[in-house]
């Protein structure tokens, strides 16, 4: 298929009017119609019903629209990024991070975006899934990393990035630090510090094991949880992707494992600025181990 055919189709989807769409694309109507026909030939059927007073997408047209729009965006983004790099176009990258999801895994991608677009402004926002999704839908965020157990609307594209697991974070001189891994049983005598903002590993653990665990709720971010662990209040269950520094240490949480699939999400059909588009591409291109 040809770039112009896809561009014409995308314009036609918006206008549902051949004359207006051809005008917007700056081509004559016969040329416009021919291009759409050729695209229909290639895709194996009509994309548009052509009736006198009614132009609307066929089932095939509706099915192909999001894919063709995504390809068109990708084509435009590849060019726009190259141009933005040359022209130092100001750009911004706004990334949402769901509960307990750190930026460590995507930090390389951010660094690479800044290498190409040094003027880009980076903004991270940590929040609950519903707030992040709302922020993406209202164009306040470009994309977000979310665990796949939250409710995502169909309008959200999602790509699996990695699976994170819980680790038990404890002071380095804690008796459990002598073990290679910590199990649910080991924690029966411990206070577990819980925060809704840090991934809900402890709640998941309680529901899987049925153990009555001693939970201390603290509605804080990971940094505050770590402060409380350092003060000797108890043990925290956090994502293995967070960097834990001395005097704290972390041990793999072995039985049961508490895995979460972390997805990169972005609103379907919304073109991203060069910084955001390149970030999403970098994340999608690679494997996260």
């Amino acid at each position: 298929m040809e770039l112009s055919q896809v561009r014409y189709f995308a314009t036609l989807c918006k206008t549902l009017n051949f004359t207006r769409a051809a005008e917007q694309c700056n081509v004559t109507q016969p040329a416009f119609t021919r291009a759409i026909q050729r695209l229909e030939d290639e895709l194996g059927g009509p994309l548009i019903f052509r009736e006198r007073n009614l132009t609307q997408l066929t089932e095939l047209g509706r099915a192909m629209r999001p894919h063709l729009e995504a390809m068109l965006d990708a084509a435009d983004a590849a060019t726009a990024l190259a141009a933005a790099k040359r022209q130092h176009t100001p750009s911004s990258l706004k990334i949402g991070l769901g509960p307990g999801i750190g930026a460590a895994a995507v930090a390389d991608a951010v660094k690479e975006v800044l290498k190409a677009l040094p003027d880009a402004k980076i903004h991270f926002e940590e929040s609950g899934p519903a707030a992040l999704i709302e922020a993406m839908l209202t164009d306040m965020l470009d994309c977000a990393l979310l665990a796949d157990d939250c409710d995502m609307p169909d309008r959200l594209n999602r790509w699996p990035l990695y699976t994170d697991r819980a680790v038990a974070v404890l002071p380095a001189d804690h008796q459990l630090a002598a073990r290679n891994a910590v199990t649910a049983r080991d924690l029966l005598e411990e206070t577990i510090i819980v925060s809704d903002r840090c991934g809900g590993f402890a709640a998941q653990l309680a529901s899987i094991t049925g153990f009555s665990l001693r939970l201390q709720s603290c509605n804080g971010a990971a940094a505050q949880m770590l402060d409380l662990v350092a003060a000797g209040l108890g043990v925290a269950l956090l994502s293995d992707r967070l960097r834990i520094a001395a005097p704290l240490t972390s041990r793999i949480f072995g039985e049961p494992e508490l895995p979460r699939r972390i997805m990169l999400t972005a609103v379907a059909g919304r073109p991203l600025n060069p910084a955001a588009a390149s970030f999403v591409k970098l994340c999608r291109a690679r494997a996260f181990h």
Partner: protein, 189 residues
């Protein structure tokens, strides 16, 4: 599939000799952003589209290019391989062949579309892929069921197509000797 692709005048759409190749910047297998113009600043560039890590003909072609890379470089050229596959498959492809050239991830076929080299997989072929366990939506990170024709382009320093190889039959690939000859001709100009 070959006939179906050829019969739609597909090859007419692929960017031709003398035309500018679409400008781009894409992520590499190692997670860097690589731009065509920074590559062109070093000399002529060979851009080659691959269908994916799963394709046996692509493997043969990639192995041949990896082997011929010293001669491609000696003729003044550098090489960029483009694949639509995501999730680390570009790196798998690159390490499997020990390739020293960049394998770039053409996420959502953007450059392939701009070069006119992408087509939708016909129904019958799609059914065969699915039966063979080839999950394109997972590999591509989109459900468009498209792939590029394995076309190869030699671009001059300005990014203009000096030579191209395109064939609807995916088992036919550019000969490294022809690529090198095209590069030498550019060097002689």
């Amino acid at each position: 599939m070959v006939q179906q692709v050829a019969s739609h005048g597909f090859l007419e759409q692929v960017v031709r000799e003398g035309a500018m190749f679409p400008d781009f910047m894409l992520p590499s297998a190692e997670g860097r952003l690589v731009s065509l113009d920074s590559q062109l600043a070093r000399g002529p560039v060979v851009v080659s589209f691959f269908r994916g890590e799963w394709c046996p003909f692509c493997r043969i072609m990639l192995a041949a290019l990896a082997e011929e890379l010293p001669r491609i470089e000696a003729a003044g050229g550098s090489l960029l391989a483009l694949t639509p596959e995501t999730g680390g498959l570009a790196l798998t492809m690159k390490t499997f062949h020990n390739a020293r050239f960049d394998v770039l991830c053409d996420v959502d076929f953007g450059v392939g579309l701009a070069a006119g080299a992408v087509f939708r997989v016909p129904k019958l072929y799609r059914a065969r892929c699915e039966a063979a366990g080839l999950n394109f939506p997972e590999r591509h990170g989109n459900s468009a069921w498209c792939i590029p024709v394995p076309a190869t382009f030699v671009l001059d320093r300005d990014g203009r197509v000096a030579w191209r190889f395109v064939d609807a039959d995916f088992s036919h690939r550019a000969e490294p000797a022809d690529i090198i000859a095209a590069l030498r001709q550019l060097g002689a100009q």
